[in-house]
């Protein structure tokens, strides 16, 4: 592969980085010792992950960075057998477990682990260049960084700060997720990117605290984005630009929508705007993307595994193909569509819709729901009635379980 280094990579070196209560810059972040290459750097906090990225940007060493919790023992052994030294980084201390295979490094290679929502995490090869998808000059911003280190979404925010001037970062550690609006308000965060689950949880916990964050840019991604969450954020932040992004480790950031509506215009399908832009198409009901931001070996059309539905002049992404379609006695319904109906109920803060094995019809639609406590008690009968007025019989969730709080994984997703 090419060893060409992006000359703009460290333009953001003087940008502010707030992590673990300390305010530094990329330049003054603690330094890691010279890392072996290739190295899998496993971290427990955002500052160590950023230090690993800066090391990569300066030295061009082959790097995979991930949280310790995402890399279990067998994955660690797999990485060691693939030539990675395993580095456990903890501030100024670190330990190195040598690779079990000696091989030539791929200079400049940055590896990502897929989220593993469809199975075991797999490695996708990128470079700092392919991960830097925002290249046009941005207005000065301070970005929230709530994502788990090493994920594609995390790299997206990190590369903006590393490669552009005046793009500060405020790192949110997992232990700070419940109170992030307080930290964000204190440090003047003006741009934040999170999954719909992340935004729903934040609104559910303390919408008032959220409104004190001076957000000008709100971004959603990583999960299907429904109209209800876009509308709720618009109500809270009438002046902010609200965008949703379709991005994955495999095809990179491929769809960016700023018009405040769920889905993207049908007119965007099969539109060829040159090599710099992705081409979106639909085969059957699967989204297919040919992207310039793809991972190594994934050039050409990539079947995303995501299911789409056409609604008016929009293309909605409803969920994963293998789990989204529920066959109820021969009638098919999209779990994503049912979820959207549930979440449009004013008293519902979050919902997950899934198939449940049932006699006679094979599968039935079931749901888990978190209600908004401010709007009084809601019963399953209320929700069945709400859905019955908006969905065919077979699409109405027949078993609804109420959860006390919105579940969330390290990836900020909730398996919807």
């Amino acid at each position: 592969m090419t060893t060409r280094r992006r000359s703009t990579a460290l333009i953001g070196d003087d940008n502010t980085v707030v992590a673990g209560g300390k305010t530094v810059t990329w330049r003054t972040l603690h330094k890691l010792p010279q890392l072996p290459s290739p190295a899998a750097v496993l971290v427990d906090n955002g500052a160590d992950a950023l230090a690993a990225v800066r090391h990569h940007a300066v030295h061009g060493t082959e790097l995979l960075v991930a949280t310790t919790s995402r890399v279990d023992l067998s994955l660690r052994e797999e990485l060691a057998a693939s030539g990675f030294a395993i580095v456990i980084a903890k501030g100024d201390e670190h330990s190195v477990e040598p690779a079990k295979l000696k091989r030539v490094e791929e200079s400049g290679r940055a590896w990502l682990l897929t989220s593993g929502s469809t199975g075991r995490p797999t490695r996708i090869g990128h470079t700092l260049e392919s991960l830097t998808t925002v290249t046009n000059r941005q207005q000065p911003r301070t970005w929230l960084l709530p994502y788990s280190p090493g994920t594609y979404a995390w790299w997206q925010v990190v590369t903006i700060s590393l490669t552009q001037a005046d793009q500060g970062l405020v790192v949110i550690e997992p232990s700070e997720l419940e109170t992030w609006p307080l930290i964000a308000a204190e440090h003047g965060v003006t741009a934040a990117s999170g999954t719909p689950t992340f935004w729903r949880q934040t609104i559910y916990r303390d919408a008032e605290a959220l409104t004190k964050v001076p957000l000008q840019q709100i971004t959603l991604g990583g999960e299907p984005v429904d109209q209800t969450i876009l509308d709720r954020l618009r109500d809270l932040f009438p002046q902010a630009r609200i965008s949703w992004i379709y991005a994955s480790s495999e095809v990179g950031a491929s769809i960016v929508v700023h018009d405040g509506f769920a889905g993207f215009p049908k007119a965007w399908l099969d539109r060829d705007r040159g090599d710099e832009h992705p081409v979106l198409s639909v085969e059957g009901d699967e989204l297919v993307i040919t992207s310039p931001h793809h991972g190594a070996g994934l050039d050409g059309a990539v079947r995303t595994g995501d299911r789409v539905e056409f609604v008016g002049d929009r293309v909605l992404i409803t969920g994963r193909l293998d789990t989204d379609e529920i066959n109820v006695g021969g009638s098919k319904v999209s779990a994503g569509v049912v979820r959207n109906v549930l979440m449009a109920h004013p008293g519902v803060a979050w919902a997950r819709v899934f198939a449940r094995k049932a006699p006679l019809v094979g599968r039935m639609v079931a749901a888990e729901v978190v209600t908004n406590p401010d709007l009084g008690p809601i019963t399953d009968e209320d929700l069945v009635q709400w859905c019955s007025n908006r969905l065919p019989d077979y699409g109405v969730p027949r078993r609804i379980k109420f959860l006390a709080e919105i579940p969330q994984k390290e990836t900020l997703k909730s398996d919807v």
Binding site: V328, G329, P359, L360, V384, D393, R398
Partner: protein, 83 residues
């Protein structure tokens, strides 16, 4: 596995109908088609029973039979529990 009584099963059947805005008549000989109890409702009842029992019912065990009346549903679920 603990079993539900016929009365408990009837209560669950009533809850299924209530969620649909309907009422379960007290008479076991009531015709399912006439009261609007459909296959989706039967399936939901089975799930409610499973949730109460904390265990899956084995639908393969008893042979298929005609289920036309309220009493047939109750008999069938009772039989499933002991299968």
């Amino acid at each position: 596995m603990a079993e539900l009584t016929r009365e408990q099963i009837r209560d669950l059947m009533g809850a299924v109908m209530k969620a649909q805005g309907k009422t379960l008549p007290g008479d076991d000989s009531a015709d399912l088609r006439e009261i609007g109890f459909r296959s989706l409702d039967f399936s939901e009842l089975a799930l409610r029973v499973e949730d109460e029992l904390g265990d899956e019912l084995n639908f393969d065990a008893p042979g298929l039979r005609q289920i036309a009346k309220v009493g047939d549903v109750l008999d069938f679920i009772e039989q499933l529990q002991s299968a």
